[in-house]
Amino acid sequence: MKTIGHIKGITSNLVTVVVDGPVSQNEICYIILEDVKLMAEVIKIIGDLAYIQVFESTRGLKSGMKVEFEDHLLEVVLAPGLLSQIYDGLQNDLAYLSTLFLEKGVISPAVDYDAIWAFTPLAKVGDIVTAGDWLGSVPEKFIEHKIMVPFAMKEQYTVKSVIKKGDYKVTEKIAVITDSEGNDHDITMVQHWAVKEAITAYKEKPRPYKVLETGMRAIDTFNPLAEGGTGFIPGPFGAGKTVLQHAISKQAEADVIVMIACGERANEVVEIFAEYPHLDDPHTGHKLIERTTIICNTSNMPVAAREASVYTGMAIGEYYRAMALKVLLLADSTSRWAQALREMSNRLEELPGPDAFPMDLSAVISNYYSRAGIVTLNNGQTGSVTFLGTVSPAGGNLKEPVTESTKKSARCFYALSQQRADSKRYPAIDPIDSYSKYLEYPEIEKYLEESRENGWVKKVNGAKTLILRGKEAYEQINILGDDSVPIEYHDKYWKSELIDFGFLQQDSFDKMDSNCPKDRQHFMFNLVMDICYSEFKHKGFEECSKFYKEVINELRQMNFCEFNGDKFKEYKSQVDKLISSQRI
């Protein structure tokens, strides 16, 4: 028997309902409005009064309308067919809907229930299995999509039967497993999961020990993101957060990308729909869209669904992680999610925290970030969810609650600076303020020494110091004037500019420069650092700046050429010539 309720009060998208039976916190319910049902979630209960947040416009709702409670929490559908899909925050397939406008109460299936999948069994009769263990697999795009014991099944089971290799629909029974009391459970390719709970069907979650290559020099070399790690990109509007995230989604060395457009511009998502089907994944050669799932809850969609969207994306990411895949989860922007929390907290008349955000904002954010990670599955294989979110600080001020709360939980901080953006130094990642905690991990240091060279982290820190020295020298030059400072000041300043222009800056719109693989980064970084550690004779500050400008120009040309191609080598020899002409 479902619990039934009737609407008592309405304030914006917060509705109070008098209920006739048990309800649970975060339970899903539907308001019956003429011929459609509006989805809502319970967020507070007082006596027989349930407070629900409605995922749609509440226009036209009346006191006394019927509400049906579903006896389950907000769930995602996990099954083959999630890749290349474009969902709203509640996992409605947007491509499936035929109307131009998103009409009230319209829902669409998350996956195609009629599609046929080529199933291959992986488990045998008699195997002992627990949640997340693989029973079989189907090819989805170019990955082997594993069919697992549903995550919600918490006991130990024995495989009683597995269907033979063949073509099946997702809803067909593919296995039967038996629990300790002898009860049989039918397994299909579809399972449901309550999105706000982390999927923990793995053996262990070690500290991250590998670097996830993103193809961005300012990230991979200067402040690497670990596989299974977390990072965030705060920046004022116009600093290039979205361009940076899109660039990473195109190039990153991941098996699956989940992009969450959370309360952002629809035209930015349209760019993904329009371009990704035509762009190649640089690692596999398949089309980018084939490895991508998009959760699109743009800024004009209902606020409550925006909150759900980040969890929907995370649950899908964790699902693919359990197949031993490398998942990269991107959310743009987590500030919009925090604002959704603020709007609801406000309507619930909770006492506000800083800037009217809810008091538990920090806890909610860190709980979310903690779901990322590299894990060892029960079968010994590894999978990972790496999370990178953007933050849109109000007024560009990094001392606001969302940035501060995120800083406490994310391990990488990529601060985009307005000043760099204004002077068109892209990516605008500030080399001084940004950091990656992973550089301090001995595991990562070891990994970098093996994949690059000995003493790599030391070298990177050396480059950071040079940039800081250069900035100090520049300030002195500005205060005292070009000819009133020793020539070493100019040399220091220009060395930092050399690292900036020759290495850190990268053109996301250039075909060659946009993606810089690790070997190329290794080579360029060594070249730039060699120059920086050399001493040069300069006649005066004008000659000094002329010399470095020429070197920078040649380095930039190298970045635009094919690695180790003829042109590249030509520019390299130009650099060598310039250097040897002035080196002491």
């Binding site: 609407i7 008592k8 309405i10 109070t16 947007l94 131009l100 406008f101 349209v270 004009n300 068109k424």
Partner: protein, 439 residues
């Protein structure tokens, strides 16, 4: 508002505050319209049979026995071709002439376009103003505000842009504009012979401020009619969005909501996004392009209104008084059109992106030279030349009184390069230099 048959009338008001009244009634829908003593009001809260209504004109003079009549529908607009050339108030009623315009009644503030059905914007909108076309090209389906101080001529610039933009339809939503500005727009459009493609929705400073909350939705419902039903290219002008946000703050304050930054409601971002995101390129060829005005206080873009706007819109156009030339220019540093990449160099001449960047870079060098000069340092020969370049660049290109086509703008920029610099200093791609450097 005329009274329809079978409407229920209530005459016992329980509570009256500055902006709201509460009455006991049943069968009332959320956001439904009503009249209270003849004044238009909207349902904002339902608690059992206690219905709270926000009275747009304020509650002055309303008595506990005033008549409350529910209309049974949320705010609507009658759409049709007969909207053209007419001027409406915030409730969608014609201000002048025949009150009954007929047409199909549509709810305002309707649903969102499915993002999947959108088309990537790709049509260049030339305005003749080089500060816009050259450096910040506009694209149909874009949403972009002018960020300007109250003393700057933003309404004039916007009217110019609207007339030159070659849109099928121009719909102006005036919020809290002065009667003088309203008459200015009216005259400019009438004198330009554009009455046959203009629709006005106006709330002037003479009207109650809360009424202006309806203006953007009215304006955009009309825009959707012309773009979706008729496949037209519609240009929507919204001025001034800061005054709209002020009205939001007033209401939120009267509803006892906890204010967030700068006394604005916590939902400001969503409220503004709902409006701006109506900008769209449709599959049928129709489009809605939104050009808005956000007035700043002393150029402060960290205030909640411009700040939230910047995160929603696809760029912003900054107006600035240029002390070198005494003209108002479109600031090349702080202005940005996020969609310009979709048209420059493809819909305009191939050299557009490079020429644009080189000119801005040289203009930035001039700004550095100026700082040097102010700090009392000697200027190099190069510094001197950048200063001269900057002055001509402001005068011949950035000033808002320029009206030339984009090819002429590019030619003018090449002329300026050649006037003050050698080829290496401009550092453009060699093939472009060979082709376009003035002989």
């Amino acid at each position: 508002m005329e009274t329809k048959a079978f409407q229920r009338v209530y005459t016992k008001i329980e509570n009256i505050t500055k902006a709201t009244v509460t009455v006991k009634a049943s069968g009332v829908g959320n956001e439904e319209l009503a009249t209270v003593n003849g004044n238009l009001a909207q349902v904002v809260k339902i608690d059992g049979d206690r219905i709270t209504l926000q009275v747009f004109s304020g509650t002055e003079g309303i008595a506990t026995n005033s008549e409350v009549i529910f209309q049974g529908t949320p705010p609507t607009l009658k759409v049709g071709d007969q909207l053209t050339g007419r001027i409406f108030n915030a409730f969608g009623e014609p201000i002048y002439g025949n009150k009954d315009i007929g047409g199909e009644e549509r709810e305002i503030g309707g649903p969102t376009v499915n993002p999947y059905k959108r088309i990537q914007p790709s049509e260049f909108i030339p305005t003749g103003i080089a500060g816009i076309d050259l450096n910040n090209a506009l694209v149909s389906g874009q949403k972009i505000p002018f960020f300007a101080d109250p003393d700057q001529p933003y309404n004039q610039v916007m009217a110019e842009v609207a007339l030159r933009a070659k849109a099928d339809r121009i719909i102006l939503g005036g919020m809290g504009i002065s009667n003088d500005d309203f008459l200015y727009f009216k005259n400019v459009f009438e004198n330009a012979g554009a009455s046959d493609r203009i629709v006005f929705f106006v709330n002037t400073t003479e009207n109650p401020p809360v009424e202006r909350l309806l203006i953007p939705d009215m304006t955009l419902t009309a825009a959707e009619y012309f773009a979706v039903d008729k496949g037209e290219k519609v240009l929507v002008l919204l001025t001034d969005m800061t005054l709209y946000a002020d009205a939001l703050a007033i209401v939120s304050n009267r509803m006892d909501q906890i204010p967030s930054k700068d006394s604005m409601p916590g939902s400001l971002y969503s409220d503004l996004a709902k409006i701006y995101e109506k900008a769209v390129q449709l599959p049928n060829g129709g489009s809605i392009t939104i050009i808005a005005v956000t007035t700043l206080s002393n150029g402060d873009i960290t205030h909640a209104v411009p700040d939230n706007t910047g995160y929603i819109t696809e760029g912003q156009l900054f107006l600035r008084n240029d002390s070198d030339t005494g003209k108002v220019i479109v600031d090349p540093f702080r202005s940005l059109s996020r969609l310009k990449q979709l048209v420059i160099g493809s819909k305009t001449r191939e050299d557009h992106p490079q020429v644009m960047n080189a000119a801005i870079r040289l203009y930035a060098d001039a700004a550095n030279a100026k700082t040097k000069l102010e700090n009392g340092f000697d200027l190099t020969d190069y510094d001197q030349r950048t200063l001269k370049f900057a002055k001509d660049y402001s005068n011949e290109l950035l000033a808002i009184d320029i009206n030339i086509d984009v090819t002429k703008m590019l030619d003018t920029t090449w002329d300026l390069f050649a006037r003050y610099f050698d080829k290496a200093e401009v550092a453009l791609k060699n093939e472009l230099v060979v082709k376009y450097w003035p002989k």
